[in-house]
Symmetry: C2
Subunit: 131 residues, 2 copies
DNA sequence: TCATCTATATGCAACCTGCATCTAGATGAT
DNA sequence: ATCATCTAGATGCAGGTTGCATATAGATGA
């Protein structure tokens, strides 16, 4: 047993709780359940770093605790019963709040990029400072 | 004393450790120290939610532990001595790594936005699903 | 019967972060 | 000279997020 690598996946360190708005958006398109949502998340660009089931289930539960979704047990065509989630009106609002928050994050990101590019350009052309 | 609000600032939940690349970029422009960096961060768009000094100092220390910066004590024109940080070659590489990582984050963000807009457009025009 | 798949869930440790607080030298006002 | 304030750096704690391991249990198939 080699010192038990417990360093977090660096590539996972992106936007905090980003899976939450993704799940909300998926649920906005219609009711669904954990396992199915997990599959559909791959279409959001989580192919290289697929989401962890435990994260999904925990987010869904916390959304329910905050009344952003409701759930019921339902039998599927096959396999064990599923906990099916439905977006509430409050959840719809919360999704919109998330979107404006992410837009703000996007602005901050782009401000960084422009600062970076601007600085690097000046740096390479004449060795002067710029920040 | 009312239950002691200990809920985290929701608006602070953005990109994980985002202050790190900001500090690296500032240090790329020239040596600096904690307090000064803190002030300069405001120009990155942290005006509404200014960075916490403790976070800055901790990130600087961790950067030093990873040899991305070096530090020395220096007297300023006034006030107590300062711990001045200088970016290393490894730190320069690390900054570039951060930038490509943030570009990936930006892609993921934009994929979300396009999914969101696309879905909402379809949703409002004909009430059909789209995700 | 037993392995595998589907589905949900929990525990733990690492990590990140905001707030409160501490130290200590320098500076300024009374 | 004393005391408050500013500058500068640092630590402790509690709350929150997350990846990994693991558990449970019904359904399905060999």
């Amino acid at each position: 047993m080699y010192g038990r690598r417990r360093t977090q996946n660096r590539s996972g360190r992106r936007i905090n709780k980003f899976l939450e708005p993704c799940l909300l958006l998926l649920l906005h398109a219609g009711e669904s359940y954990g396992y199915e949502l997990l599959d559909n998340l791959e279409r959001f660009g989580f192919t290289e770093n697929p989401a962890d089931p435990s994260t999904i289930y925990r987010i869904l539960r916390s959304l329910e605790n905050n009344s952003f979704v409701t759930s019921r047990w339902a039998e599927g065509d096959s396999g064990p019963a599923r906990r099916v989630y439905i977006l509430s009106a409050a959840g719809d609002k919360y999704l919109k709040l998330w979107v404006s928050d992410l837009e703000e994050t996007d602005k901050i990101l782009n401000r960084f990029f422009s600062k970076y590019r601007n600085h690097m350009q000046l740096h390479h052309s004449n060795g002067k400072q710029s920040c």
